[in-house]
C-alpha cells in the first residue's frame, strides 16, 4: 500500500507537469500511466506552442504557460526543440482576414503583440506562403516544439524531483472511503491519497462519470504527417483561419503538417486514413508551394478528448471533494498543459489557483443530459 498526498491518473503533459510542480512543492505524488508517459496526445500532437487563436478565456492560462515554456530547459532538463519561431495565421479570404483583425482587436491587452499583414506585407516577409493567402496575423513569440521529447521529459523531471511515476500501470478501481481515495492498478498497486487528479485525456470521462459527473466528451483523431528533410524555408509555424491545415518546419528540415481527422483503430490507437492524408497533401501545395514534389514519409494520429464547446474541464469536481479534473483540451493542450499542472498544484497547496479557471468548470455540463 502506497500512501501519498496526490494520485495523478494520466501521464500526459498535464498530469506529468502537475506531478512535477507538486513534487517541487514538497508533495508526495504518484503518477499512474496506462501506457508510457507522453505516448498519446501529449506526445504525438502537432507540436504547436501557440497562444494566437485561442479563446480569450484561455488567455490567462496560456500567458502563464508562455512564461513556463520560456524556462523549459531549467524545468525539464532539455530544450525539447522548442523555438519561438513566431506563429503565422493565414487568411484565404477577406472575410477570414477580417476575422483575424477582430481577434487581434479583442485579444489586445493579453500581450500577444499580434501583427496584421496584408497581402504585400505577407509576400515580403514570408515569401514561401502561396498566393491563396490574402493576408495573415503574426504572433512573434509563439512557436513550436517536439512533443515526443517534451511531454515524456516532464514525467522524467517529476521523477527526478521524487514523484513516483508508474508506467504501463492501468487503473483498475477508484473509490473514496469518506477520508481519501483508494486507487488500485491492474498490476497490483494499491494507493491512498486525499487528492486525486483526473488527467486521463480522452479517457477521463469514465472517471468523471463514476463520480456522478458525466460529460459529453468524444474522441477525435487529428491527422498528421511529416516530410523528408527539406532545405530550411519556413521561419514560422503556421495555421489557417477557419480551420484547414497547419504546418511547421523543424531544425532538421522536416516539415510537420496536420489537418483533418483520422479514425480510431481501437480505444487507444488511431490512424490518419487516406482521405485526411490526401487532403493535407493537396492543401499543402496551395499554401506552401515549395512542397510540390517533396515526399511525405510518415503519417500518424492520436486520440484526443473534445467537449462540445471545445474548451477543457479544469478544476474541482462538484460532487467529490479532493477530486480535480483536467481534460478535454480539444487538440490544444500542449501549450497550456504546463500551466494547468501549475494551477492544479496551487489548488492543492494554496487552496486556489492564481489564474481564474471558472470558465472551465465541469458544472457547465451538469444541465446537459448525456446520451
Amino acid at each position: 500500500m502506497i500512501e501519498v498526498d496526490a494520485i495523478i491518473i494520466g501521464g500526459g503533459i498535464v498530469g506529468a507537469s502537475a506531478a512535477l510542480f507538486l513534487s517541487k512543492a514538497g508533495r508526495r505524488v504518484a503518477l499512474l500511466e496506462r501506457d508510457f508517459c507522453g505516448s498519446h496526445s501529449s506526445g504525438v500532437n502537432y507540436g504547436g506552442v501557440r497562444r494566437q487563436g485561442r479563446p480569450l478565456s484561455q488567455m490567462p492560462l496560456s500567458q502563464r504557460a508562455h512564461e513556463i515554456w520560456g524556462q523549459l530547459p531549467q524545468l525539464i532538463g532539455i530544450d525539447g526543440e522548442y523555438q519561438r519561431s513566431g506563429h503565422l495565421k493565414l487568411a484565404r479570404s477577406l472575410d477570414d482576414l477580417r476575422a483575424l483583425q477582430d481577434y487581434a482587436a479583442s485579444s489586445q491587452g493579453f500581450g500577444l503583440d499580434l501583427q496584421l499583414l496584408d497581402r504585400a506585407e505577407l509576400r515580403a516577409r514570408f515569401p514561401w506562403v502561396g498566393d491563396v493567402a490574402v493576408g495573415a496575423s503574426y504572433c512573434p513569440d509563439d512557436g513550436h516544439a517536439n512533443p515526443r521529447l517534451v511531454s515524456p521529459a516532464f514525467a522524467q523531471a517529476a521523477r527526478r524531483h521524487g514523484a513516483q511515476v508508474h508506467e504501463q500501470c492501468a487503473v483498475s478501481a477508484v473509490e473514496h472511503d469518506g477520508q481519501r481515495f483508494r486507487v488500485s492498478s491492474q498490476n497490483g498497486l494499491e494507493l491512498h491519497a486525499p487528492w486525486l487528479l483526473n488527467c486521463a485525456g480522452a479517457w477521463a470521462g469514465s472517471l468523471a462519470e463514476q463520480f456522478g459527473e458525466a460529460v459529453p466528451m468524444h474522441a477525435g483523431h487529428p491527422a498528421m504527417l511529416v516530410t523528408e528533410p527539406l532545405p530550411l524555408v519556413m521561419n514560422a509555424s503556421t495555421g489557417v483561419e477557419g480551420g484547414g491545415i497547419y504546418a511547421r518546419q523543424v531544425a532538421r528540415g522536416n516539415c510537420v503538417l496536420g489537418g483533418g481527422q483520422g479514425f480510431a483503430l481501437d480505444a487507444a490507437r488511431a490512424r490518419p486514413g487516406q482521405q485526411a492524408v490526401i487532403e493535407i497533401l493537396r492543401q499543402a501545395v496551395e499554401l506552401y508551394p515549395f512542397l510540390e514534389g517533396a515526399q511525405a514519409i510518415r503519417t500518424w494520429s492520436g486520440t484526443e478528448g473534445y467537449l462540445p464547446d471545445r474548451q477543457p474541464v479544469i478544476g474541482h469536481s462538484s460532487t467529490q471533494p479532493g477530486l480535480l479534473h483536467a481534460f478535454g483540451f480539444a487538440g490544444a493542450g500542449f501549450q497550456i498543459g504546463p500551466a494547468v499542472g501549475q494551477a492544479l498544484t496551487e489548488i492543492i497547496c494554496n487552496g486556489a489557483s492564481s489564474t481564474p479557471l471558472d470558465a472551465f468548470s465541469i458544472t457547465r455540463f451538469h444541465s446537459i443530459s448525456v446520451a
Partner: protein, 451 residues
C-alpha cells in the same frame, strides 16, 4: 462486386493469380515493379536481350515459367504494374501509380509483398560503393551492371554465395567472400539441409565454383569496417587468426532476408514473434489465412522461405481464398502443397543453422556506427536512450528518431532492435514491435487524385 486483389507479382503473387484464374476468378494484381517476376526472378527491361540462363543460371527454367505465366494470363487479369500500395484500411488499398493516387476496394486480398535484405551495419556502410546483397544482384540482373570493379561479398545467407557466383560468372572481379558463419555451423546444419538435396547441391556448387576459380572464401569471417573517402577503398575483416585488410572498390553485404510486413500490419493482422526469422511476423495458418478474415498471406513477406516455397504458398493462399468464397477446389492439391511446404520448412531450419545469426553483432558494434542512415542515428545514440530507461522500440524511436526516416525502419529496424535488446539486456523478442505507419514508401505532394 469487389475484386480479389493480390499485392506483389513475385513467385507467390503470380502463382496465386494463376490459381484464381484457373478457377474462373479475375483478380486485380498490383505490383510495384514495372515488370512482374519479383526480386529473385526480376525481369530485365524489355530492350535488354540477355538469355534466361545468363540471368538466372540454374533457376532459368523456373524464372521463364513464371514470366510466361504472367504473359499468358495478362488478358485474364487486371494487372497493374508500377503501382505502389502505400496504405491499407479495413477493406481498401490505397495506391500510387504515375503520380496518381487511387483507392481499390477488395473482397479478399492476398498479400505477397516479399522481402528485403537484413542489414547489420558496420563502420563505413554508408559509403558509396556499399550495397546490400539483394541490391547488388538487382544491379546485375536488371541493369546489367556490377556495383564495382573489385567487389567483396560479406555477411551470411544463401544469397551471399549466389550473388558472388553470379558476379564472377558475369566477369566481375570478386575479391573475396566473407561468410560470418563458421564452417562447423554448416556441418551441423547438414541434416536439415538434406531435406532439399537439389537446393543444397546448388549451394555447394556455387561455393565450389568460387573456390575452383581462385576466389578466396573465408568462413567465420566478420566484416569489421569499410574505409574510403569518396567511396569504398578497402575493408577490414577478422577471423580466429586476426584482422586482415582487403583493397576493393565495392562491398555487398547482408545477413539473410527480412519480410516486408508493413502492409499486413496496416491491414490489422495479428503479429507473433517468430524465433526462426528472428522477427515479428503476421500470423497465418498453413493455408495462409491471417487473423483478418479477408486477408491472406503468402511468400517471403510472411516469413522467409524462398522462391520455391513462395510459389506453393501463393497457390495455397489462392485455394484458401477460393474455398472461403465457396468455390469447389481439389483437396488433394492442398495436401500435396502442405507436404512440400513442410519439407521446405525443414530445409529452412537447416539454413538458419548454417547461416547462423551473429548474436555478438550488437555488443561488438561501436557507438559511432551509423544504424539509421535516414535520420543519422548512431549505435551510441540508441544506447543513450536505453540508458535513460527506455526499452520499448517505438519509445526508443520517439526519443532518438531511429527508424523514423524515409525507410521507416525497413533498412534499420532489425539492427535497432538488436542494439536496444543488447543494451537493455532483454531478449530481442521482449522489446516490442516497430509499428507500421503509412505510407509504406514515401508519398509525393502534388499528386493527382482519381475519383
Amino acid at each position: 462486386m469487389k475484386p480479389v486483389v493480390i499485392v506483389g507479382a513475385g513467385p507467390a503473387g503470380l502463382r496465386a493469380a494463376q490459381t484464381l484464374v484457373a478457377h474462373g476468378v479475375r483478380p486485380v494484381l498490383l505490383d510495384e515493379a514495372a515488370r512482374g517476376g519479383g526480386q529473385i526472378y526480376r525481369r530485365q527491361p524489355a530492350n535488354f536481350k540477355r538469355s534466361a540462363v545468363t540471368l538466372y543460371g540454374f533457376e532459368a527454367r523456373k524464372a521463364k515459367a513464371l514470366h510466361q505465366t504472367l504473359d499468358t494470363l495478362r488478358e485474364q487479369l487486371d494487372y497493374r504494374p508500377d503501382t505502389l500500395v502505400w496504405n491499407a484500411e479495413a477493406d481498401a488499398l490505397d495506391t500510387l501509380h504515375e503520380g496518381r493516387a487511387a483507392r481499390i476496394e477488395f473482397s479478399r486480398v492476398i498479400v505477397a509483398t516479399g522481402a528485403t535484405d537484413r542489414i547489420l551495419p558496420v563502420q563505413g556502410w554508408t559509403l558509396p560503393g556499399v550495397y546490400s546483397l539483394g541490391a547488388a544482384q538487382i544491379a546485375l540482373k536488371f541493369q546489367g551492371c556490377a556495383i564495382g570493379e573489385r567487389v567483396v561479398f560479406a555477411g551470411s545467407g544463401p544469397l551471399l554465395y549466389l550473388v558472388a557466383y553470379q558476379y564472377a560468372k558475369a566477369g566481375a572481379k570478386v575479391v573475396a567472400v566473407l561468410d560470418s558463419s563458421p564452417f562447423s555451423a554448416q556441418v551441423r546444419a547438414l541434416p536439415g539441409l538434406l531435406s532439399q538435396p537439389t537446393t543444397l547441391a546448388k549451394g555447394i556448387y556455387y561455393r565450389s565454383w568460387l573456390s575452383a576459380h581462385g576466389i578466396p572464401v573465408h568462413q567465420g569471417a566478420t566484416l569489421q569496417r569499410i574505409d574510403g573517402e569518396q567511396r569504398v577503398r578497402s575493408l577490414n575483416w577478422s577471423d580466429a587468426k586476426g584482422e586482415h585488410q582487403l583493397a576493393c572498390d565495392a562491398v555487398a553485404f547482408a545477413h539473410g532476408l527480412r519480410s516486408e510486413t508493413q502492409l499486413a500490419d496496416l491491414l490489422g493482422c495479428e503479429f507473433a514473434w517468430n524465433p526462426l526469422n528472428r522477427a515479428w511476423l503476421p500470423q497465418r495458418d498453413s493455408a495462409g489465412r491471417s487473423s483478418i478474415a479477408e486477408v491472406y498471406l503468402a511468400g517471403d513477406g510472411a516469413g522467409i522461405m524462398g522462391a520455391d516455397a513462395a510459389e506453393m504458398a501463393g497457390e495455397r493462399a489462392a485455394l484458401a481464398v477460393l474455398e472461403d468464397a465457396g468455390h469447389p477446389i481439389a483437396p488433394q492439391r492442398c495436401v500435396q502443397l502442405a507436404q512440400s511446404l513442410t519439407r521446405i520448412t525443414t530445409f529452412r531450419k537447416g539454413l538458419e543453422q548454417a547461416f547462423i545469426f551473429p548474436e555478438h553483432w550488437a555488443g561488438q558494434t561501436a557507438d559511432g556506427v551509423m544504424i539509421c542512415r535516414c535520420e543519422e542515428v548512431r549505435a551510441g545514440d540508441i544506447r543513450q536512450v536505453v540508458r535513460e530507461g527506455h526499452w520499448e522500440i517505438n519509445r526508443v524511436k520517439a526519443h532518438c528518431r531511429a527508424g523514423m526516416g524515409r525507410c521507416q525502419g525497413r533498412m534499420c529496424g532489425a539492427a535497432t532492435a538488436e542494439i536496444i535488446a543488447c543494451e537493455s539486456q532483454r531478449a530481442v523478442s521482449q522489446i516490442g514491435r516497430l509499428r507500421a505507419q503509412a505510407p509504406v514508401k514515401p508519398l509525393p505532394f502534388g499528386l493527382e487524385i482519381e475519383s
